[in-house]
């Protein structure tokens, strides 16, 4: 029994690990990785029908997700404008039968950095249309506040670093600021993580969950890496709940012998 579920849109998720389903070496490895991750939320996409198929990866991913009781989170990857993103989100709702949407609106081709202006416009419209919106955003405090208060997003998903880069948390201070200034917001670090320790770092600073894909899919052993991230995320969350000590500039003795010189002195 999980005594610390993540509640989104009234749904309790037992895992704080959101897992992407793209780029695995085979559909079977993808299905095993979903199982090993313990995830309760998997991301999916949409593409034009004239493009190539996926060797059955989607069907196995859906089976593995259903077997775990996991929710589906389709994305709007590839969108460059609010209009495109809204249309794609509506298509995703029809095809996947869920009103949860990971909103991606890219504003720069090299970094795949989200376009904050189009993102806010799309999020506002999608909430009006009844979606629960998970916006992939930068860590800008004012943008994040407007996504929450103005658009009505259920969560915020600031990037850790550019998608697929494996850099980890590029701007940890900004994420800490978000946590401090938006204490009631559900924060999910999405993208850029490469190592389980980076996921643990995010959870340790109070981030509520992480979403990643490439770090698992492109690992030498994706299933083992999925389990490693699962454990790191559990550890990071436990550390946040336990409360990290404040850092000090100098040593603070841990063994209580202060004031007693017991090796050199009168008895010598």
């Amino acid at each position: 029994m999980n005594d610390d579920p993540l509640i989104i849109d009234g749904v309790a998720l037992a895992s704080r690990f959101f897992l992407g389903t793209a780029g695995y070496p085979s559909p079977a490895v993808l299905a095993e990785a979903i199982e090993a991750s313990g995830t309760q939320l998997v991301t999916l996409g949409l593409k034009r029908t004239l493009q190539a198929g996926d060797n059955g990866a989607l069907a196995l991913a859906l089976d593995a997700a259903r077997a775990r009781g996991a929710r589906l989170l389709p994305n709007t990857a590839g969108c460059r404008s609010a209009r495109e993103a809204v249309a794609l989100a509506c298509m995703a709702r029809e095809l996947y039968g869920t009103h949860w949407i990971k909103l991606e609106v890219v504003g720069d081709e090299l970094s795949l950095q989200p376009d904050p202006f189009e993102l806010l416009a799309a999020a506002t419209e999608l909430v009006r249309l009844g979606f629960t919106v998970f916006p992939y955003c930068t860590e800008d405090l004012v943008l994040c506040r407007r996504l929450l208060d103005e658009a009505g997003c259920a969560v915020l998903m600031p990037w850790g670093a550019p998608i697929g880069s494996g850099q980890g948390l590029a701007h940890p201070r900004a994420l800490r600021t978000l946590r401090e200034r938006l204490p009631d917001a559900t924060l999910v670090v999405d993208a850029g993580l490469g190592a389980p320790s980076q996921a643990a770092q995010a959870l340790e600073m109070g981030i509520d969950a992480v979403l990643l894909n490439t770090a698992v899919a492109k690992a030498r052993e994706p299933v083992r890496m999925a389990a490693a991230f699962r454990d790191a995320i559990v550890a990071g969350r436990a550390a946040w709940r336990a409360g990290l000590i404040a850092t000090q500039d100098f040593a603070v003795a841990s063994t209580p012998v202060s004031g007693h010189a017991f090796l050199l002195g009168d008895a010598a």
Partner: protein
């Protein structure tokens, strides 16, 4: 009379008055297997039968895939 539309960026000739639903049927696409956009706007499944295609219309079909 025939009209020309673009389906997934390919030119296609259709009888005038063809609906989006009829187009999908002619492609042997089960109605629930794809989502449809007409000239960049989403057309819900239930509106396809009432959506008559016109000359120059751009139809895009989308399907589910894996994703991050």
């Amino acid at each position: 009379m025939m009209i020309e539309i673009r389906l997934d960026d390919q030119a296609r000739q259709l009888p005038a008055g063809t609906t989006l639903a009829a187009l999908l049927e002619s492609l042997d696409r089960p109605a629930a297997s794809v989502a449809t956009a007409l000239n960049g706007s989403f057309i819900p499944r239930e509106r396809r039968a009432a959506t008559v295609l016109g000359a120059g219309d751009q139809v895009l079909l989308f399907k589910p895939i894996v994703g991050g």
